[in-house]
Amino acid sequence: MLKHPGKVGDYLYRMMLALQHRGTDSAGVAIYTDKKLGEDEYILMVQVLDKPGAIGKVGDAIGRAGGNIRDIQVKISKGGGFGIDRYVIRAKDLPTLKRIVEEVDATGIGKVFSYGQSIQVIKETGLVENLEASYGISSMRGTHGIGHVRFSTESRVDHHHAHPFHTGSNPDIAVVHNGQITNYHKVRRGLERRGFTFVTENDTECIVHFIVDKLQQKFSLEEALEASVEELDGPFSYIIATSTAIGVARDKLGLRPAMIARDRSGYFIASEECALVVCKDPNPKYLGPGEVCVYELKGS
C-alpha cells in the first residue's frame, strides 16, 4: 500500500518475481486504481475468449442486464486463446451490477474476474514474466494492490483457480493465500447456507466469502481477520484487500510465513524477506502466530 498513489504494479511485479520460486503454476494481481470513477461507474475485468464476435457478445450481455459501456481496453494473452479486457460501465445500482456479471458469465465467452470501483484483477496460469508480457502490470498505477504466485496444493491449475480471488458477493474485495483451510468443506457449507455462491473448489475462495460475511455483519476488517484466525483451521497466511485497506492474517500456529515492512513510500507485506527488497526497511518483521494487521488508506 503506497502512502501516495504511484506505480503499485511495478512494486508488485518486482515482489512477485523475487518470489517466483514459491510457485510456477499461475500468477495474478489485484491492483486498485487511483483514478476516480463516477458514482455509478464500475470497472469489470473480464477474461474473454479470443473468438470472432466475442467482444460483441460480452457487450450485448452487459447491455441486456442494464449496463452502459463507457470504455473498453482489450489485451490479448501472449499465450493465445483469450485476453483480459477492462470494461468501464455505468450501472444504476449494485443489484444491476451483479446481474451484469451474471449475464457476462452466462455467455460462455466471458468470465468476470473482478468488479468494483477500483479493483482490477489480472491473473492466468504461468509465470510472472508471462503476466507482465501480456498485460504490462508493472506500468499499472494505483493506491494499493496484492499479488500471488501459485503452487497448487488443493485444486486444479487453471486461470480461474489462480489467485487473487474476488467474491461475487461484494465489489472491490480480493484475497491471496498461502496454505490450506482444512475445515474448508464445513465453512463452505455454512457460507452457502447464508447465501454465498462458490464458483471453484479452491479453499482460498472460502476466505474471501468468510470475510465478506463478517463485514456484512458489521465487523471491522480487523475483527473479521481475528475471527478468521479463530474459526478457520489449518496452516495459512493470507492478504485481503478492499477498496480502502489491506489486511494480513496468520494461523495460530504460525505455520505459514508473513513478513511486513514499511518505509517512506508505503507498507509492504510478503511471504519472504527477498520480496521486501523493494522497501528500504532495514528491519522487516515477521507477523506472529495468530496475529493480524490492517493498513488503511489515508483519509478513508
Binding site: A18, L253, P257, E272, E273, P284, G288, P289
Partner: protein
C-alpha cells in the same frame, strides 16, 4: 588472511554453494538477496561473511564452517547442523537451530516460533525474544534466550535446557521451570 569477495546477485543458491564448497579460508558474499539454502551441507573449514540477509535453511546440515551474517535469516537457520557456528546480527525466523546436533547459533535480535525445535545438542543463543513453543520436542542441548519467550515454552521437551533472562508467557507440556542461582 584477506577475504575473497563474491557477488551473489546473479547466482542461484546451487551456484553459490558449489563455489563455497571449493573455497578455503575466508569468503565474503555480497548481495545474497535472501537466497535459500546458503552454505547447505558444507564440511570444509571456511569462514563466510554474508553482507545482507539469507532466506530459509541458512547453513542447513553443515559441519564446521563459521558463518556471520549482518542481516536477518529466514526460517530454519542452522537446521540440523552437526558442528560449526552461525552468527546472525539481525533476526531469525521460525525454527532457528531445529534438529541441531552440535555447534553454536547466535541470533542478536529476535527469533520466531519453535526456536531449537527437535534439537539434540549444541547451543542456541538469542539476544532478544523468542516466539511460541521455544524448544518444542527438544532432546538435548541448550537454548539461551536473553529476552522473553512466548507461550508454550518447552512444549513436549524431553531433554536439554532453556535459559530465559526475561519473562516466560507460559510453559508447554513436560516443561518445568526452575530459578537459576546467580
Amino acid at each position: 588472511m584477506s577475504s575473497r569477495v563474491v557477488d551473489a546477485a546473479k547466482m542461484s543458491p546451487r551456484e553459490i554453494n558449489q563455489l563455497l564448497r571449493k573455497a578455503r579460508g575466508k569468503i565474503r558474499l555480497i548481495n545474497p538477496n535472501s537466497a535459500h539454502f546458503l552454505a547447505a551441507g558444507l564440511r570444509n573449514s571456511l569462514k563466510i561473511e554474508i553482507d545482507g540477509s539469507a532466506g530459509y535453511y541458512l547453513g542447513t546440515c553443515m559441519h564446521g564452517p563459521v558463518i556471520h551474517i549482518n542481516g536477518n535469516a529466514g526460517w530454519y537457520a542452522g537446521d540440523n547442523i552437526t558442528d560449526g557456528v552461525v552468527i546472525i546480527d539481525g533476526s531469525g525466523g521460525d525454527g532457528v537451530g531445529q534438529g541441531m546436533y552440535n555447534g553454536t547459533i547466535v541470533v542478536r535480535k529476535n527469533c520466531g516460533s519453535r526456536t531449537g525445535q527437535l534439537m539434540k545438542g549444541g547451543t542456541v543463543i538469542v539476544g532478544g525474544n523468542s516466539g511460541y513453543m521455544t524448544g518444542l520436542y527438544a532432546f538435548g542441548g541448550k537454548i539461551i534466550i536473553c529476552g522473553d519467550v512466548e507461550h508454550s515454552a518447552g512444549e513436549s521437551i524431553m531433554g536439554g535446557a532453556i535459559y530465559v533472562g526475561g519473562k516466560i508467557a507460559s510453559l508447554g507440556k513436560n516443561a518445568v521451570a526452575q530459578k537459576v542461582a546467580t
